[in-house]
């Protein structure tokens, strides 16, 4: 069996002492920083991104993935213990997790969250293999025009399906594409938007943009409010879940995994919608829906499984097609590019040790997460009482120093500060930052594919509709755009957005 060979290769890579250490470090740092109040996965990853530079690509991605699901998991710990979601996807976990904690069953809630996340993470990883391999094989036949159309679809879907205003999200995509153009044009060698600065000839650094737009602006947003937090540390309770807890969580976990896997693959949806929908589903299926919001174990198991499954399956389009569906995936993809790996369907064939090594590390990482989290809950609880006024100078320090260390260039730090200002203004105007980063990452690839397609077709624009694959993608994008213009669907989406906001 070929697949067994792949797994042997993957585990061989992932179990090397070095990669095991990076996986452990990633999971640990991710959880540690993810638990800290007001620091979500995006801030964590962008802050630690510069430090993975210089590692071999496999180790870098293994560590970043570890940080990603570690931070994701850390968010649910805070949701359960202090009713404070580390990020939007664990907002739903607050509803019943915190109620369980108030009834002295925090330990059971944490354990169920860990176990359902673990199950979902493993199933999600298996799905990456099951779907990713054929998908990459199919995508290898894509021509330049098909690729361009696929990127259009990815960007349109990410803006249409994501939270909030569609037009602003699309504008942010275009702005991101423009920012991605800064630097030397590969075809003509002309410098674009560099304003005569030699430091900009290679473009605006990926970490400079990510740190500015996610980390710096997030810190300023947090500083708008005074901190007020009720830390719940009275009694974590026994960590061992009761037998009936496990039995009650079994099916919700599987249903949550199914929902999460589906939304994870779609661009723009991801963990938040998954956890919300799976919570709603469990509430509908329950014999006694009134228990929800009062500490129902299913209300912890299902959303936790859903957001973890979505977090895993989001890797499918990223690793196999080179099209990230969310901001976090854009960061992972950016890290790949930064490390000299050309993303796309050929990654699996050209860098099998990377693909399979990362896959294998996900099983290990998910297991580490359970092993690490449950015994260390006491430590996480104590971390929660660190005041934000100590944390944010440290975040700013890591942002500045991290960016400086990449090129030893002060210009990068200035640029990052400037992008931070832009990011804050955009965030206040409710312009979502994720589409901008997606556009930035895909911009250069998009331009290259358009150019190549039109060069081959001798300037004939009809090439984009003559290829059936490209036509399908473009038609789907158009359909998505038109459907959002229809008032009925728009109102429905506004309602979902509102309900989701209500759940937080």
């Amino acid at each position: 069996m070929e697949i067994i060979d792949h797994f042997v290769l993957g585990f061989g890579v992932a179990l090397s002492l070095q990669n095991l250490a990076y996986c452990f470090l990633g999971v640990l740092l991710g959880t540690l920083i993810g638990v800290l109040p007001g620091v979500g996965p995006l801030v964590t990853i962008s802050m630690l991104l510069p430090m993975t530079f210089g590692l071999p690509p496999v180790s870098a991605v293994i560590m970043l993935s570890g940080i990603y699901y570690g931070a994701q998991y850390g968010g649910s710990t805070t949701a359960i213990l202090v009713n404070l979601p580390g990020e939007t996807s664990s907002a739903v976990t607050c509803l019943d997790g915190y109620q369980m904690a108030r009834r002295g069953r925090a330990g059971a809630a944490l354990a169920i969250a860990a176990l359902s996340s673990f199950v979902a993470g493993c199933i999600g990883t298996l799905l990456i293999v099951a779907l990713g391999v054929p998908l990459a094989g199919w995508a290898l036949r894509f021509g330049a025009e098909d690729y361009f159309a696929l990127m259009v679809l990815g960007l349109v879907a990410a803006s249409v399906l994501s939270h909030g205003d569609m037009v602003k999200a699309l504008a942010m995509v275009v702005l991101g594409l423009l920012i991605g153009l800064v630097g030397t044009d590969v075809n003509s060698g002309a410098e674009r938007y560099t304003f005569g600065l030699p430091e900009l000839a290679d473009g605006i650094g990926f970490t400079v943009l990510a740190v500015g737009i996610f980390a710096i602006s997030e810190v300023v947003l947090n500083l708008e409010q005074k901190e007020a937090r009720e830390v719940f540390t009275r009694n974590v309770g026994g960590l061992m879940p009761r037998w009936e807890d496990l039995k009650a969580s079994f099916l919700p976990t599987l249903r949550g995994t199914a929902i999460g896997s589906f939304f994870g693959i779609l661009p723009g949806t991801g963990p938040s919608i998954s956890s919300f929908s799976s919570y709603m589903l469990e509430k509908k299926l329950a014999k006694d829906p009134s228990r929800f919001g009062q500490g129902a174990i299913e209300g912890v198991a299902a959303p936790e499984a859903a957001n973890n499954a979505a977090a895993q399956t989001a890797f499918i389009p990223t690793l196999t097609l080179g099209i990230p569906g969310s901001a976090t995936m854009a960061l992972i993809l950016g890290a790949l590019i930064m490390n000299g790996v050309q993303p796309g369907p050929s990654v699996m064939a050209r860098n099998p040790e990377l693909f399979w090594g990362v896959i294998a590390s996900m099983f290990i990482g998910n297991a580490l997460l359970v092993a690490l989290n449950l015994p260390l809950v006491g430590l996480w609880v104590r971390l929660l009482s660190i005041p934000y006024r100590w944390l944010f100078p440290a975040i700013v320090m890591f942002c500045a120093l991290g960016n400086y260390s990449l090129n030893n260039s002060a210009i990068d730090v200035y640029l990052c500060a400037a992008i931070g200002v832009l990011g804050y203004v955009l965030a206040k105007l409710k312009c979502p930052p994720a589409p901008l980063v997606l556009g930035y990452v895909l911009g250069p690839m998009m331009e290259e594919n358009v150019r190549r397609a039109l060069l081959l077709s001798e300037g004939d624009l009809s090439i984009f509709v003559r290829s059936p694959i490209s036509l399908t993608f473009l038609a789907l994008s158009l359909l998505l755009l038109i459907s959002m213009a229809l008032p009925a669907i728009r109102r429905g989406k506004a309602r979902v957005d509102q309900e989701e906001a209500g759940a937080t």
């Binding site: 275009v174 423009l178 002309a190 934000y388 500045a400 200002v421 804050y424 203004v425 206040k428």
Partner: protein, 151 residues
């Protein structure tokens, strides 16, 4: 309900997009446009800038209609302080060395918080400088001098 233009979330976003699009277009006028077969470096930027202006106009119109106001106030002071902290760090790190640059960064950014306790900030500075030196200079072996005098 009327909202002043300066508080109108979508109208301001629209103006910002239009402005950035116009800037992008103006700068791209200096690059060769080329033809569809052989696109010049100016082809993509000009089209993207125009699309951005278009989305900006749509957003502006929507803002004028819906009059949704910006939520909460602007945190200009923290923003200015954090920006200043980073700029000062960039300026000082090559001139005075890592430790003075970090101390300045932490001191200035800490002022952006709601509470500022001198002793706390001092301890924070010492701990974080040690951490940074440990991770970046001793751990990642980056060639930074902890103290310097280059003017």
């Amino acid at each position: 309900m009327r909202t002043s233009l300066f508080k109108n979330q979508d109208a301001l976003a629209g103006l910002l997009f239009m402005g950035l699009g116009a800037l992008g277009f103006a700068v791209a006028l200096g690059y060769k446009f080329g033809t569809t077969i052989e696109m010049g470096p100016g082809y993509f930027p000009r089209i993207l800038s125009l699309v951005l202006i278009g989305f900006g106009i749509l957003t502006f119109i929507k803002g004028v209609r819906s009059c949704a106001a910006i939520e909460g106030g602007w945190a200009w002071l923290p923003l200015a302080l954090l920006t200043a902290a980073m700029v000062l760090f960039g300026f000082l790190v090559e001139r005075l060395g890592l430790v003075p640059a970090l101390a300045t960064l932490i001191f200035v950014s800490a002022r952006a918080g709601h509470e500022f306790k001198a002793l706390e900030v001092l301890v924070l500075t010492v701990v974080l400088s040690l951490l940074a030196a440990a991770v970046f200079v001793w751990g990642l072996k980056l060639p930074y001098s902890l103290f310097a005098w280059n003017f």
